[in-house]
């Protein structure tokens, strides 16, 4: 009896507060506090969780990556990477919009955030597409849709958050009995696992882009590829291309932890921005620090209350109940994947990605453990599914950004972005059904 009433208190107050528009962190915190009081547990635990949930070394990757991303923009690194992608467009049908997808992939390799990717790429590529006769709505739609790649292609802030949430959880005993031991989770492993799925999603976007451009008659330039443009874009972008190599090379080779590689990237960016590009000014530096402050503060305050919430879920066996009711519906692993993806897409439409990961990992991860799903594979599917939410209404941050840049009505961009969201969804389903896409690279590299 207490079990059902605790669910009512925990979820009832959480959803109630969300609906009246309380900040996510407050909704989680108050719901957890109400349950503590109901269960007659000592709420002093909250204080220790507040400190311990945030005070972890791997978590410092979050502000470090945010700061690195903000600085790369100010230092002119982002701009040059996008210009390089643009120079590859050439005579292919839909070439420049394909280059936009490519630019988002490049950019995803230095940034861990969707709207930031959309903004940085869109500022340059949307006007470039319009100059070549593309429809503004289409140009914005492709940018918004591929902006989500920013969080799938490593380094990825959502993967850091998933890793931290998952590391704090133990594998349920029933699952260990049934499936033997599970592979361990680590943030570098998640980063490697994200590479191929990122490519799969990009390819699905590129195919759809080709088909739609062919139908709309968007041809490439008649002169063919211009080697001199590509060459000069490459020369001026040389130091910018090194940035993702420094970050990812450092992590994959095992020289640095993700946190350290982000720190190295910060110093690399400051060096390039000040001495080579000579674009980074004091004002930019100070602004980047400020952005990092409020972004980290707001995300990590959610982490604190989400940790309390998650602990209550696990202590009250709620994930086991979810798993049982799911298994009661169907025993088919593929159908269960579809249910999970559908649920994640739905949540992604309404909730900010990082908050969704922190709230849902404690619920869903034990469920997938009980089904014998590899935790890294699940993490990748989760991040990919939520990334689609960036370009779907009603809370598609990428759509807002893209429609803002191109000055096109939101409805038009949204309508043109929906086919891309469907293509990405198909890609995510493939990624879920074929675990090797996520697990092959980590296995080959010996993680």
């Amino acid at each position: 009896m207490t079990e059902t009433s605790i669910i009512v208190i925990l979820f009832g107050s959480f959803l109630g507060l969300l609906i009246i528009g309380a900040p996510i962190t407050v909704s989680l915190g108050v719901a957890a506090l109400a349950s503590f009081l109901y269960l007659d547990e000592n709420p002093i635990k909250l204080v220790q969780i507040a400190f311990n949930s945030v005070g972890s070394f791997p978590l410092m990757a979050l502000p470090a990556f945010i700061l690195a991303g903000a600085l790369m923009e100010a230092a002119g690194i982002s701009k040059r990477l996008v210009a390089l992608a643009e120079s590859f467009a050439g005579p292919v049908t839909g070439g420049i919009s394909a280059a936009t997808v490519l630019a988002c992939m490049f950019f995803g390799a230095i940034s861990g955030s969707g709207p930031a990717t959309t903004a940085a790429v869109g500022m340059l590529m949307i006007p470039a597409m319009v100059r070549r006769g593309y429809d503004k709505g289409y140009a914005s739609a492709i940018t918004a849709s591929s902006g989500g790649l920013g969080i799938v292609i490593p380094p990825s802030i959502p993967m850091v958050i998933f890793g931290i949430s998952a590391l704090g959880m133990t594998v349920p005993a029933e699952a260990l009995e049934k499936f033997g031991s599970f592979q361990s989770i680590s943030i570098p492993k998640l980063f490697i696992a994200g590479v191929l799925p990122g490519i799969v999603i990009s390819v699905s976007l590129l195919i759809l882009n080709y088909v739609r451009c062919k139908r709309a008659g968007y041809k490439g330039t008649s002169e063919g590829w211009s080697l001199s443009t590509m060459g000069s874009a490459f020369r001026s972008g040389f130091w910018s291309i090194l940035a993702p190599l420094v970050i990812l090379g450092g992590i994959y080779s095992g020289f640095f932890t993700p946190t350290e590689s982000a720190i190295v990237a910060i110093f690399y960016t400051v060096f390039v921005g000040v001495f080579i590009h000579k674009e980074l000014k004091w004002k930019d530096l100070s602004r980047s620090l400020e952005t990092t402050t409020w972004l980290s503060g707001r995300v990590l305050l959610i982490l604190f209350t989400a940790t309390v919430f998650g602990r209550l879920l696990v202590e009250n066996q709620i994930p086991t109940m979810v798993a049982e009711s799911m298994l009661g519906l169907t025993q088919n692993l593929y159908l269960i994947w579809l249910l999970i993806i559908g649920f994640l897409l739905f949540v992604g439409m309404f909730m900010e990605t990082l908050a969704a990961i922190m709230i849902l990992t404690p619920v869903l991860l034990p469920v997938t453990y009980n089904l014998g799903i590899d935790p890294v594979h699940f993490g990748i599917v989760m991040v990919c599914s939520l990334s689609i939410g960036f370009s779907t209404p009603p809370l598609g941050e990428n759509l807002f950004v893209a429609s803002g840049i191109s000055d096109t009505p939101l409805e038009e961009v949204t309508a043109k972005a929906i086919p891309f969201a469907l293509a990405s969804t198909l890609a995510v389903i493939v990624i879920a059904f074929v675990p090797q896409i996520s697990l092959l690279l980590p296995e080959l590299l010996g993680y």
Partner: protein
């Protein structure tokens, strides 16, 4: 008086920027000394983690000052605007209640419940001082929530988070202007 007000207005911003710069540099020094001199400094990791915790909670207060904490607000579109204002005020009131209770809890923990001799592992700082950030930052955050509401209801200024401000600026900027300029300014993330 003016300068005191200005310092108070930007208090978290100053604290956080300084902390961020210091812990980023500490970690960099640690990497350099390990990779190039084969010597790892023992205390940097601990110190930087504690600075990071301080950075996070003051940062959360800073985010409150800019009313940047994520809310789910799409349902507001279907509600009468007066009701929305009332609901938002109510949710802020609940937030303040939570904060006040948490300040009490953390104050009680730091000054009454905590083992006074509990010290950090490598630096030996009493943990009491490190945990002190919780009551301080949550008190400050409560003041910021009140400040935002004071500005909204008394002064009629709607505090918007920096992302929303940026978006509004983008919405106003004309597409044709951007087409003329070859490389528009990339101020997108601040």
């Amino acid at each position: 008086m003016g300068t005191i007000k200005e310092i108070f207005d930007n208090l978290e911003s100053y604290i956080c920027r300084i902390l961020l710069v210091i812990f980023v540099c500490l970690l960099f020094a640690q990497i350099v000394s390990r990779e190039f001199f084969g010597y790892s400094i023992a205390w940097t990791e601990e110190l930087s983690v504690y600075m990071f915790v301080w950075f996070v909670f003051f940062g959360a207060s800073y985010a409150a000052k800019h009313s940047a904490h994520n809310r789910v607000t799409f349902q507001y579109k279907w509600l009468p605007s007066k009701l929305c204002v009332a609901l938002e005020a109510l949710s802020d009131l609940i937030w303040i209640g939570f904060n006040v209770y948490f300040v009490y809890l953390s104050y009680d923990f730091v000054f009454n419940k905590m083992n006074l001799f509990w010290k950090s592992q490598t630096l030996g700082i009493p943990m009491k001082y490190i945990y002190l950030v919780l009551p301080i930052a949550f008190t400050l955050m409560t003041i910021r929530i009140l400040q935002v509401n004071y500005l909204k209801f008394v002064k009629g200024v709607d505090v918007k988070d920096p992302e929303a401000q940026e978006l509004d600026a983008l919405m106003e900027a004309d597409m044709s202007e951007q087409l003329d300029i070859e490389s528009p300014k990339l101020g997108a993330k601040s």
